[in-house]
Symmetry: C2
Amino acid sequence: MNTTAMFPPGQKLPNDSFTGNAFLTALVARDKNNDFTVGSLTYEPNTRSYWHSHPKGQVLIIIDGEGFYQEKGKPARAIKKGDVVIAPENVAHWHGASSTTKMVDIAITNYQGDVQATWLQPVTDEEYNSVQTHK
Amino acid sequence: MNTTAMFPPGQKLPNDSFTGNAFLTALVARDKNNDFTVGSLTYEPNTRSYWHSHPKGQVLIIIDGEGFYQEKGKPARAIKKGDVVIAPENVAHWHGASSTTKMVDIAITNYQGDVQATWLQPVTDEEYNSVQTHK
């Protein structure tokens, strides 16, 4: 296997929706056939999204590293290269790297109308640190 | 980067739509949010799909190896790890490994009604061998 990174890390994502350093490379734009976008997201260690929800869900395919996915009120799920997460519609959740390892995913994000996500509050350090022991 | 294969190779695909040894690991099933399937396909060297078309197109993300994508009447396009192919609707094409290298992709295949693909004739050895020199 060629061990170079699959995609360039891309552009830094804003810190009003991601805590830490997350980067996006856009791979597929919405068009008449594909009612979604596809992108590769790289989360540096200790980086995570804010809490958010998707009106029509999202698919995450983890292609490198390790991290977490957590839906509100549920235990965090440890995720790693080769795992697939199917985020349901309208469920608050976050995802990100572990505190010590980067995480890279391919995200397929559906549209409902022109909306892909509703952003909520940051994942606090307390929330984030509490899941690391579950790994 | 962890250099283990991202997904298990999965189940062999039938030789009435693929020439050689192609394997599929299903990653995402169609559901109320995702009007597509996602799978990882592994093509051994010298393996390719038959000519076929998709009524609502397909996205291919190449995650390992090298191969070719060719639309009917156009030159073949060499594809490799990190490349993205957006196949339009109702255009006859094929894809597969090169004659000497495997190719692994993630395929996002949209539905139109209950149809994802219309299968046509095999890619002949002459057709397949003629593109190898364009690499």
